[in-house]
């Protein structure tokens, strides 16, 4: 029997939807599951956490994310609750926190997993930007896995048993790496790495101002807005919007590529999308070989039509 720990990520108190993937994976293992939440009150989350053994609530005067504090607290939780495996989301915070935890807890980590076999402590993750898949095994010690959002099927549980709630205190030691502020972007953007729908633009957008039509389409679909490297390098879009090898790796259920030729370096950043749609003027563009559906045409005509059509069917 192995004790499975889950780091449940809350974003300003909101339960991230990818946590449900972690819970689905852990519940399926049949092992005792312990979920760790840094929050002043666990009540709002208990409905989501039904059927697991323990909820470990981390309490403290200031629970704002500070990597050193969180990592040391989790390392102490691993010891106290004898956790053999801990899983988290491969999110911006997960990428920062889990390697720190690995070092502090003398554990081993595999990031960005597409599948995890908890019984055998094995995981499959993309390597070479997704050109290959690697299967890793962690033989001894505590095993840590972060899981790419949108890869594990979420299953609703029929369990009704409420977990036992235990509390631990936040580590209040020295901060070496100190977050002094968080600057939010002016517009409420949807996080690309966890988005279910993404609309992306390439060099054929021809200018920064033209991204407005993609933004309109994304808004109708409640999706995120991305860009190819060519568009970012031409300064049509900001670096945080870049999808691809040197940008973000995304995994939505629908990816709409507009005016993107489909260079390998872009493709590896979005190839695991469930459905890829391409809109491009050039019928020879490589993106059509990789897309599930394509329309050959001028994006400045097609995109507004798409927006209207989606609006119609979604209303």
């Amino acid at each position: 029997m192995a004790n499975i720990g889950l780091y449940i990520e809350l974003k300003e108190g909101v339960f991230k939807k990818s946590n449900r993937e972690l819970l689905s994976l852990a519940r399926k293992s049949g092992q005792p599951v312990h979920a760790v939440l840094f929050c002043p009150d666990v009540q709002p989350y208990l409905e989501e956490l039904k059927g697991i053994q323990t909820v470990i609530q981390v309490q403290g005067a200031d629970l704002t994310y500070q990597p050193d504090r969180y990592a040391r607290t989790l390392a102490a939780v691993i010891q106290e609750f004898k956790l053999d495996i801990v899983c988290g989301i491969f999110s911006a915070q997960g990428k920062d926190l889990f390697p720190r935890l690995a070092a502090k807890a003398k554990a081993s980590l595999v990031n960005d997993c597409l599948a995890v076999d908890l019984d055998n402590r094995k995981a499959i993750k993309p390597v070479y930007s997704g050109k290959l898949l690697a299967e890793y095994q962690i033989d001894a010690g505590t095993a840590l896995f972060t899981i790419r959002p949108n890869v594990i099927a979420v299953e609703t549980t029929t369990a009704t048993k409420a977990p036992e709630i235990k509390t631990v205190a936040l580590d209040n030691g020295e901060l070496q790496t100190k977050i002094i502020s968080v600057e939010k972007s002016a517009s409420q953007k949807i996080d690309l790495t966890e988005a279910e729908i993404i609309v992306s633009g390439g060099r054929a957008m021809k200018g920064k101002e033209n991204f407005a039509i993609l933004e309109d389409l994304a808004k109708v679909l409640n999706g995120g807005l991305g860009a190819s490297r060519a568009a970012v390098d031409a300064e049509y879009a900001s670096a945080d919007m870049q999808v691809g090898q040197t940008g973000k790796v995304v995994n939505p259920k629908l990816y709409i590529a507009c005016g993107i030729s489909g260079a390998i370096q872009h493709f590896v950043g979005m190839k695991t999308s469930k459905i890829i749609v391409a809109v491009n003027k050039d019928p020879e563009a490589p993106i059509f070989k990789k897309a599930d559906y394509g329309i050959v045409g001028d994006l400045f005509t097609i995109v507004p039509l798409l927006k209207e059509e989606f609006k119609k069917v979604l209303s």
Binding site: L132, I138, K253, L254
Partner: protein, 256 residues
């Protein structure tokens, strides 16, 4: 300040990657490059070196003999020294961190250590943090803005939705670079000529006390992901094609 840039040599972004024996790749036709995020690291390190008079930049790379080319690239861009940690075996991130920490500690008193947030071969996303923890110094990852003032490092790192965390750290520290931090310079002809004359310091892996047998994350096998079947192009007038596409997304693909 003794500034460091830890870099990795990886296959070119355009390279096709073929599996050799289930656990390694066929290196025969591969063109090797400095991992793109490490180029941002080198550039930022050079900018810091130019800001603090009397600084030196040392590039460090672990790997087989071929990685000396990556070090030559760093030297040609403007690094002063290069250290090659000679290893022909594949180490996991923890062991790589231990080896690099040993080498850097033994080399000189270190200031800021720059590296990429990930290498685009194993995409492990952890070496920079493990190295910092090994050296017991602070670290920030996914850094898109860097400044050094009054003995302190201040960085901005991207978190979700384009929001940025502002982080302060004392020196020494590790800074892991992401795209957006800077535009890496090209090596000048003079830089390339100069780089050829600099002797690369070599440290055999054995001297670090780290070996492959200590790997805790074990690679079982490599496989090629399933290829997507060829999709279809929807023809017809723009308005009709759009209607058909939306219908297919709803009824066939069931994604909206």
């Amino acid at each position: 300040m003794n500034i460091y840039a830890c870099i990795k040599q990886v296959p070119d972004t355009e390279a096709s990657i073929l599996i050799k024996d289930g656990k390694s790749i066929n290196e025969a036709a591969i063109k090797w490059i400095v991992s793109p995020h490490d180029e941002y690291a080198i550039e930022e390190a050079l900018k810091l070196k130019e800001k603090i008079l009397g600084s030196t930049l040392t590039a460090v790379c672990l790997g087989p003999e071929r990685v000396q080319n990556a070090l030559r690239t760093a030297l040609a861009m403007g690094a002063d020294r290069a250290v090659h940690v000679e290893s022909s075996v594949a180490l996991d991130s923890q062991n790589t961190a231990r080896a690099l920490a040993q080498v850097i500690r033994a080399d000189k008193e270190f200031g800021v250590i720059f590296m990429g947030k990930q290498a685009i071969d194993d995409d492990a996303y952890q070496l920079h943090i493990l190295l910092a923890e090994e050296l017991a110094i602070p670290v920030a990852t996914n850094v898109m803005a860097f400044s050094f003032d009054g003995g302190k490092v201040r960085v901005e790192r991207e978190i979700d939705e384009g929001a940025r965390e502002v982080i302060e750290m004392a020196v020494p520290c590790v800074v892991a670079a992401a795209k957006g931090l800077n535009t890496p310079r090209y090596a000048s002809m003079m830089g390339i000529m100069k780089a050829k004359k600099i002797e690369i310091k070599k440290t055999p892996l054995a001297e670090t006390g780290v070996d492959e047998a200590q790997n805790k994350v074990r690679l079982l096998k490599l496989s090629a992901p399933a290829e997507k079947p060829q999709g279809r192009v929807i023809s017809g007038e723009a308005a009709d094609a759009v209607c058909e596409l939306v219908r297919l997304l709803r009824e066939e693909a069931k994604v909206i």
